[in-house]
Amino acid sequence: MYSNGYIFRYAAILVIIAAAVLSTANMVLKPFQERNMAIEKMGYILASADIKGVNTKNAIEKFNDYVVEEILVNSKGDVIDSYKEGKMEDGKAFKINMKEELYKKSKGQDFELPIYVINKDGETIYVLPLLGTGLWGPIWGNMALKDDLNTIVGVTFDHKGETPGLGAEIATKQFQDQFIGKKIFDDNGNFTSIKVVKGGVKTLPEAARIHGVDAISGGTITSQGVDAMLSNVLESYLPYLEKHRKK
């Protein structure tokens, strides 16, 4: 029979070998995985600005074609970094960690957020990345604004693990298409964000309907998460938007 000592030694050695193999694999494959994630991110940014024909193969190329500037804005709305030359995927704005920046915001510290400026056939589009919490995990996306920094060109949402058929519907075209043409400021210039309305926008007064979309039936918490994400993130961009809107 095997002694206890043998069993412990055996288990220890096995686990150490397994750990070594796995961490080596992780290190070797990390660059490929990060590249895939970057490509996916570019695809979403372009998709929010309604640029068609982007796939995993041409995403980097198209991203460099369309994105003309990457801006970093701070909590006061000042532009602190503008990146125009070189490869867009190397820009500081593209690499910034939204989660950390929004965490700093929640702690009341200074933060920096990225904006992507896209030139789509002469039309200037500003894309703001979004990040928030759904029911089961993080949700994120992008919002593309026209050069009035008010009207929405398009949005994309994605999620880590919302319930399929319910909360996960935020990633569908039907939900996202509702945002097209909506406005984040009212006629008096007050910030309204976009409300995700339970029961549908038809329950809102006529004037407020341009600032709302229908929530998802059965996906209440995720819908609230989208609503909170929009108001929280857009609010962080507000100083910048206010400054550049009035021109």
Partner: protein, 219 residues
């Protein structure tokens, strides 16, 4: 499974070939042993994920079978299940990392199911029943055979579900667009897991009809 030690057996002796062929029909892990049903229902809505899942299971099963078979004389029986789990889990994580690096789209579709290969009973079953008491080469063939049997059913189910549920095969439109104009509709039910179970049931029925050996005696 016999365990006699033979001298210099040819690599593809009839006995070894049987290890590959057996699980495809007479000893099929899904339709005969009814193992691994959960993943068979989950990843068969489209053919592409089903094929990737098959390849992943094949890699995991064949590799873990070989590793366990190499270790079989040193594994203390009291912790053998733990050792098997460590081996399977490491293999699954490796496969998951490789998928994430090279076929990111599909790895997103398969999401949790790759991780759940760890709990696929076929794999633990083969390690415990076969690899623990056989040499590496037969163990390798056994792994390939069982994952082929598993994958065959997965792909058949996915074929019907994708054809009737989405009108496509491997993402290509096969139902002519004209059909939709004269009132043909994709069957939304085929996309949902219950129809996968029913499809598996039909496959079992057809298989038993043609394979008399599988029919139990009526008492």
């Amino acid at each position: 499974m016999s365990e006699e030690k033979q001298e210099r057996e040819p690599l593809f002796s009839p006995k070894n070939l049987k290890l590959v062929k057996g699980p495809i029909n007479l000893d099929n892990p899904i339709t005969v042993q009814v193992l691994g049903i959960c993943s068979a229902l989950a990843v068969t809505a489209k053919m592409k994920p089903a094929i990737v899942m098959t390849i992943s299971v094949m890699v995991v099963l064949a590799a873990s079978n070989v590793v366990i078979s190499l270790l079989r004389n040193g594994i203390p029986p009291r912790i053998r299940i733990i050792v098997q789990l460590v081996v399977i889990a490491s293999m699954v994580i490796l496969v998951d990392q490789v998928l994430k690096a090279f076929v990111y789209d599909i790895s997103k579709q398969l999401s949790v199911f790759v991780g759940l290969i760890i709990t696929n009973c076929i794999i633990m079953g083969r390690l415990e029943a076969f690899a623990m008491s056989n040499k590496p080469w037969p163990a390798f063939l056994d792994g390939i055979g069982n994952s082929l049997g598993y994958g065959l059913i997965l792909i058949i189910v996915a074929f019907f579900r994708e054809l009737f549920g989405s009108g496509t095969l491997l993402g290509l439109q096969v139902v002519p667009p004209g059909f939709y104009n004269i009132g043909y509709e994709n069957n939304g039910l085929m996309i949902l897991p219950p129809m996968a179970l029913i499809t598996v049931g039909v496959i079992i029925w057809v298989q038993r009809y043609y394979t008399r050996e599988l029919i139990e005696e009526n008492k």
